[in-house]
């Protein structure tokens, strides 16, 4: 068992990060995927995660939203989400605590994962009505505003099966936003899309960056897009952050050899 006393019960101070990974290790069975990860994300910051396949990019997001970790603590807004307080110490969170603690986080997936038996509007209203307990009317209003934001208001009564990939992904973004998250996670949200519709999704994300004070963590293979909109880019290699920095620095003047190799390999593939 790990000695938990080295982790504070709560992060305090003037500049508490919105998301904070402290010494986090994630393993699937005997396979350690991420090791001793330390990563802080400021409120309102847009951080892109890049790296070769299997380097643990998706796992970083999934630890925030879907997976349990083997070591370390993750804090959101200063509060631990992976652990809860008991007798003045931290113990692994139970399911209920974990779910509640993750409420300020929203996630969008590579394959959209819209609910097929609900229309676009119903997809967006589901969380506000069923989880936040909002009235149908208020939830509808909020959802329609968000569908407007992502440019899908004219398709609000369509089921996902009638929407293109780009349209589905925009609805999925609206659905996540309807929960009013503080943190948004995007896992390769354009990878399953045809090239000609990628722009409609990236434009929505650009709009979010420009107009909303969301903290975002985005895994992407689109280097140009990451360079455009990120405050910081993290290059993952073998379950560790090999190099990170502002996009201009990381893309134009990478310091580490592995970063250089990866970037030139990506460039020549384009």
């Amino acid at each position: 068992m790990e000695d938990m006393s080295r982790y504070p019960l709560q992060l305090e101070g003037a500049d508490v990060p919105m998301v904070s990974f402290k010494n986090v290790t994630k393993a699937y069975g005997s396979l350690t995927v991420l090791e001793n990860l330390d990563l802080d994300i400021r409120e309102g910051e847009m951080v892109s995660v890049i790296g070769p396949s299997g380097s643990g990019k998706t796992t970083v997001l999934r630890m925030l939203m879907l997976e349990r970790i083997q070591q370390g603590v993750i804090y959101v807004n200063g509060k631990p989400i992976t652990h809860m307080e008991k007798n003045g110490g931290l113990v692994p969170a139970d399911d209920k605590y974990l779910r509640k603690a993750r409420e300020p986080i929203g996630m969008c997936f590579q394959h959209f994962n819209l609910f097929p038996h609900m229309t676009a509007l119903q997809n967006c209203m589901e969380g506000p009505v069923q989880v936040l307990g909002m009235s149908k009317r208020a939830a509808r209003e909020r959802s329609e505003d968000l569908l407007e934001l992502v440019g899908m208001i004219d398709k609000k009564d369509q089921h996902p099966s009638r929407l293109s990939g780009g349209q589905q992904q925009r609805v999925a973004i609206a659905r996540a936003l309807a929960m009013r998250p503080k943190v948004m996670l995007f896992d390769e949200v354009t990878s399953a899309l045809d090239p000609e519709v990628i722009g409609e999704v990236t434009n929505v994300i650009k709009k979010l960056v420009a107009e909303h004070n969301l903290t975002m963590l985005m895994v992407t293979h689109q280097m140009g897009f990451a360079k455009d909109i990120s405050d910081r880019v993290c290059f993952f290699f073998g379950g560790k952050i090999e190099e990170q920095g502002p996009p201009e620095q990381l893309f134009d003047h990478p310091q580490k050899e592995r970063t250089q190799q990866f970037l030139s390999a990506v460039k020549s593939a384009d």
Binding site: K100, F109, E126, Q130, V131, H159, R175, A176, M179
Partner: protein
């Protein structure tokens, strides 16, 4: 006597029997669906006690014959102080038996819903119960409908056994008619046709209709 005369004469008894069969079928189906849902969900539980009792139930009722189960419920349970009327014992036995088969369909249907749906529901912070009822089960149901159609027809055929504890269903009436007229071909031929029509004119089209309704809900029909 022509077949027509036979029908006119025995018609009311066939109708009476068919009605009882219909009621037995409906009650057994409701029970089977409820048990299937319960046992199917329990079998997916992470609690070994809950899961274990579902496994035992399913094994027990699938691994032994419906007729023996019927006799147990009607003749043996009273020895332990639980007496059921024959009518009740009939549909309870059929419902419990087919419910065990249905539980496997429910389990399979739920497991066939893609992981991403669970994850999306979880990422909206939905409680486990809401995830199941609102997101997973409706999709599982659609996957399950075709095999449920077959199961309900099995259930219909299974109800014929209740005649053996003297519930006056179609089979029971047919045996009575045969005993008094000795017109076996006409009697059991008629029963055969009624069972067949029941399955093909009521059950199958109903399931098709249900599937269409579900598909429409998914926006998948043209």
């Amino acid at each position: 006597m022509s077949y027509w005369e036979f029908l006119v004469e025995q018609g009311p008894r066939f109708v009476d029997g068919a009605l009882i069969t219909a009621v037995q079928f409906a009650l057994a189906a409701v029970l089977a669906i409820a048990i299937a849902l319960l046992a199917g969900l329990m079998k997916l539980s992470s609690n070994p006690l809950i899961k274990g009792s579902a496994v035992i139930y399913i094994e027990l009722f699938r691994g032994t014959s419906l007729l023996v189960q019927l006799y147990w419920i009607f003749f043996v349970l009273p020895l332990f102080g639980l007496t059921l009327e024959k009518f009740t014992a009939g549909f309870v036995a059929v419902g419990m038996n087919l419910g065990a088969y249905g539980a496997e369909l429910v389990r399979g249907g739920i497991q066939s819903v893609p992981r991403g749906q669970w994850e999306a529901a979880y990422s909206l912070s939905m409680s486990p119960a809401k995830r199941m009822w609102r997101i997973i089960l409706p999709q599982a149901l659609l996957n399950m409908l075709p095999p449920w159609g077959n199961l309900l027809i099995e259930l219909l055929k299974g109800t014929a056994l209740v005649s053996l504890i003297s519930v006056a269903d179609l089979m029971f009436e047919a045996k009575q008619i045969n005993g008094s007229t000795y017109l076996s071909a006409q009697t059991f031929g008629t029963a055969l046709i009624i069972y067949y029509l029941f399955a093909r004119v009521l059950v199958t089209p109903f399931m098709r209709w249900l599937e269409q309704v579900m598909l429409r809900k998914l926006g998948r029909t043209e």
